[in-house]
């Protein structure tokens, strides 16, 4: 990868986003688990559930702090590194981010203080309300972010305004109830629940292996296994829905994920594994299951799954139509406030939605109208993302998804039969499974974002056109800065997490604790 401003900006965004998403899913899921545990405490009055809430709450707090701080970086980066993007779609994309702040983030961040500091200041129900407010806040937050991201995948309800040279919202309900956004929201939130469930399950399993905090660990595992079973089932089912919508709205992404080089007659086979070769446009050593691909992608036995070569041909047509729209736009702008010829107006109305395809040519020629047929063909082939990384990360994500279902079913059964501490091997499996849901979640984002390339907004704005006019050295400097800062934080975060886990729940909170006034431990 060369050191140009586009690659550097993409690298920084990917790096900071993937890092941010190490913390977000645990916040999403653990906040709900905390609320569930505290609800049990309030309903039964049994103090062990209070101890559990406070213990997992400590781990939640360590994780939450970095999640918030790295989230701020994400919000600022659109303007910092992607200023043309911000200008071009801020009218639509900015609104969900602002509403997130208004509706979700204030709720989450205001009540998280009460969660930690309010235990002795309010009634049981009052504190429970604060905990649920945190859980709702973080989940609403995900809703609005995914409405924003869903719009980047499927940009509905907006149109280009030649006077302001940007996309403007025409139908806010379409943006809000964008099917892609809704599918992504439920898929992502259940992924977060799965992450938190595996985390709670794994840490508790470690306690059982060590024979420590047995009562707390068993109860926590029961919560994690039941919640996690529901979550891991929905993450796969809802992920399938998300994939199905990709068939409808992002055919190229789907073709790349499945390494479908040429349109397959219905019903298409599903390639389980293989080695996609972008140059030869072949998948070597492919292991295929007949019919399954067509069933998953189109939910029918008669609809063919479109292949990369055919989609490139369609992109060529779109580019040519996009150039007519570009031409019309230049004439409209040249006319200023004067009259525009009706045929020009018509040309823009007909093909204005394909304007982005003309911008794909900007890589090769300043004026897309002067592009040669070879350049059009090159630009059309640019719409194909890198197949092999998508093919593999997608399979990693799906494979892990099915593994989590198995894991959760196993522990759900063990918990129901009160045999949680019977099989040390299974407990060990739960411990080493802790990092896996993170790998699945990060793979999922990779597929979603990398698979959208070369577009930053599918079919509307190429990523290469969206960057700020910054010097490469400047961006390189902040990449190094973020990398250093984030690495140090990661080490500290892991150390504190491990410390808190090793230390276990506070004995002051134990169900049988004699309450004596605590004293402050001074520094050495």
């Amino acid at each position: 990868m060369e050191f140009d401003i586009v690659s550097l900006s993409r690298f920084q965004f990917a790096m900071t986003a993937l890092y941010h998403f190490l913390f977000v899913p645990l916040t999403l899921g653990l906040s709900v688990i905390l609320a569930i545990m505290e609800t049990v405490y309030v309903m039964t009055g049994r103090r062990i559930w209070r101890q559990m809430t406070k213990f997992w709450g400590t781990l939640f707090g360590i994780n939450f702090a970095i999640g918030v701080a790295t989230g701020l970086v994400m919000e600022f980066q659109f303007g910092m590194n992607w200023s043309y993007y911000s200008h071009y779609v801020g009218d639509i994309f900015g609104a969900p981010l602002a509403i997130e702040g208004l509706m979700a983030f204030f709720l989450e961040a205001t009540f998280v203080g009460l969660f930690f500091f309010g235990w002795d200041r309010m009634s049981k129900v009052g504190h429970l309300t604060a905990t649920w407010a945190v859980a709702f806040g973080s989940n609403f937050s995900a809703l609005w972010i995914l409405i924003a991201n869903g719009w980047m995948q499927n940009p509905v309800g907006a149109a280009f305004n030649p006077q302001t040279m940007r996309m403007e919202v025409t139908d806010f309900y379409a943006v809000l109830f964008n099917p892609v956004a809704q599918a992504k929201f439920v898929h992502t939130v259940s992924a977060g629940y799965t992450v938190a469930s595996v985390f709670v399950l794994g840490v508790s399993a470690w306690y059982l292996l060590k024979g420590r905090h047995v009562e707390l660990a068993k109860r926590s595992m029961t919560v994690a296994a039941s919640f996690g079973l529901a979550a891991s089932l929905s993450v796969v089912v809802l992920g399938d829905e998300s994939g199905y919508l990709t068939t409808e709205h992002q055919k190229m992404k789907l073709a790349a994920m499945e390494a479908t080089w040429r349109t397959e007659p219905a019903p298409a086979p599903f390639t389980v594994v293989g080695f996609p070769d972008q140059k030869a446009r072949e998948t070597h050593y492919a292991v295929e299951i007949p019919w399954v691909g067509g069933l998953i992608d189109t939910r029918s036995l008669t609809t063919p799954v479109e292949g990369i070569e055919q989609l490139v041909e369609r992109a060529k047509v779109n580019i040519k139509l996009g150039v007519t729209a570009f031409d019309a736009l230049q004439k409209i702008r040249a006319a200023g406030s004067g009259a525009v010829a009706p045929d020009v107006k018509q040309a823009f109305e007909d093909n204005g939605n394909l304007l982005g395809y003309a911008l794909l040519l900007k890589r090769y020629v300043d004026d897309p109208r002067k592009a040669t047929p070879e350049q059009v063909s090159q630009a059309a082939w640019d719409t194909v993302p890198q197949v092999a990384p998508l093919f593999w990360t997608f399979r990693v994500m799906v494979g892990l998804g099915f593994y989590f279902i198995l894991l959760m079913v196993t522990f759900f059964v063990l918990s129901a039969r009160r045999m949680l501490d019977r099989y040390p091997l299974l407990l060990r499996l739960a411990v080493i499974s802790i990092p896996l849901p993170w790998i699945a979640a990060e793979s999922g984002w990779f597929v979603a974002e990398f698979g959208r390339q070369p577009w930053i907004i599918e079919g509307i704005l190429p990523t290469a056109s969206a960057v700020s006019s910054l010097g490469a050295a400047t961006v390189l400097l902040t990449i190094v800065g973020f990398a250093l800062l984030y690495s140090v934080l990661f080490v500290i975060e892991m150390a504190l997490m491990l410390r808190a886990v090793r230390k276990g729940p506070s004995p002051d909170d134990a169900p049988d604790a004699v309450l004596i006034p605590a004293t402050v431990v001074p520094a050495e």
């Binding site: 701020l72 801020g90 981010l97 602002a98 500091f117 139908d171 400047t474 934080l489 500290i492 520094a523």
Partner: protein, 384 residues
């Protein structure tokens, strides 16, 4: 959808200009005392216990307060996309410095007291000081540059080009504004500490607070004089259509001497705005001496509101002038979102802002009272 045409585009733009001010003031008044406590930490609190008391005075609330900044960023993105695009990419390295400071800050709060080592805690104290001081300084420097105009231009596709350097931002007038910003944040943080703590921390905060209040008055006055003598300002020549499309290249602008004082000449009653800045700070200083704890915090908040509003009122209708190509300057009338987006965002704000204010007030009431060694001990490991 015709509903949004119930409110004129022009009126919506004016409302969103006011809301931009409300958000900035909201951030400066709430998170301002958090930043101020950070900046004051090494000075008002000497022993470890004193430092924990100071940190825990903002422990439960800083997270909610910081959302004003997050909301501000989102709202600028949604309501003023060109402003968001130009300022965040133009002030690139300054933004990075703010982010770095704001990343270190929450981590410092959470992690400082998790280990008993004195070196560990001293390290985080230093981080917390920077996390308060640096953002306060940079926000002020950014405002100082905004008043002077920022070197950006648009090409015909409205792509932004910024032709300044990071060190160009650090000019004398901007640094003066940066100092003013630090002074007012320190004043505000001190009034908070006086309200929330007792004993030596409160006593030291009282004297630093009075000093900062005095500095705020002096620097604000000095800033006004420097603005008049050295900065000048911008004015729109010819007509601008307040209902026109958000394209900043459709007007003409020139620089003019004392242009930032024109609004006060036209409407002398606007002088009440800077007046609030002066009287609030002076009043906060006096209230600290008179031991009116709540009064000092409120007056200091009013002073901050007055000072920020002064910037907005002086520049109106400009939001971000361009020194490179004055006609590219962003104004209230040509740098907003579309009519529909402004309307939708206003509806959301009208629904959610009262709810936010209600539960924030409730949380502050629950947490009312002084923070001392005992309350930290009762925090049982949840305290910072």
């Amino acid at each position: 959808m015709i509903l949004h045409e119930l409110i004129d585009y022009q009126v919506l733009r004016l409302i969103w200009w006011l809301l931009l001010g409300v958000l900035l003031v909201g951030f400066a008044v709430t998170d301002g005392f958090d930043l101020g406590v950070g900046a004051l930490l090494p000075f008002v609190a000497r022993t470890d216990l004193e430092r924990r008391v100071a940190i825990n005075s903002i422990g439960p609330v800083w997270e909610g307060n910081q959302v004003w900044l997050i909301l501000g960023g989102g709202a600028i993105f949604a309501a003023w996309p060109p402003l968001y695009a130009v300022s965040f990419s133009g002030f690139y390295l300054a933004m990075f410095a703010i982010l770095a400071a704001l990343i270190v800050r929450p981590v410092g709060f959470k992690y400082r007291s998790k280990r008993d080592s004195a070196a560990w805690r001293r390290g985080w104290d230093c981080a917390l000081f920077l996390g308060g001081f640096v953002p306060a300084l940079i926000f002020g420097v950014a405002v100082g540059n905004t008043l002077q105009g920022v070197p950006f231009r648009f090409d015909e596709d409205l792509r932004i080009f910024y032709e300044g350097s990071f060190f160009g931002l650090l000019n004398p007038f901007a640094l003066l504004c940066g100092l003013l910003s630090v002074a007012m944040v320190v004043m505000h943080g001190a009034t908070w500490l006086v309200l929330k703590t007792e004993g030596p921390v409160a006593a030291r905060a009282r004297s630093y607070g009075s000093l900062a209040a005095l500095a705020t008055v002096a620097l604000f006055a000095l800033g006004g004089v420097a603005l008049f003598l050295f900065v000048g300002g911008y004015k729109i020549t010819g007509v601008i259509n307040p209902l026109g499309p958000s394209n900043p290249l459709m007007k003409s602008v020139e620089t003019a001497r004392a242009a930032w004082f024109a609004n006060y000449a036209a409407y002398p009653w606007l002088l009440a705005v800077p007046g609030l800045g002066f009287l609030g700070a002076a009043g906060a200083g006096l209230a600290l001496r008179a031991r009116l704890e709540v009064g000092a915090l409120l007056l200091s908040g009013l002073s901050i509101a007055g000072i920020i509003a002064t910037v907005g009122v002086s520049m109106f209708p400009f939001i971000l002038p361009s020194s490179l190509d004055p006609r590219a300057s962003l104004t209230v009338w040509d740098a907003s979102s579309s009519h529909l987006t402004l309307f939708i965002m206003l509806v959301c704000t009208v629904i959610f802002m009262p709810i936010i204010l209600a539960y924030t007030t409730w949380v502050y009431r629950v947490l009312w009272g002084k923070v001392d060694a005992k309350s930290i001990a009762d925090g049982q490991g949840h305290a910072y």
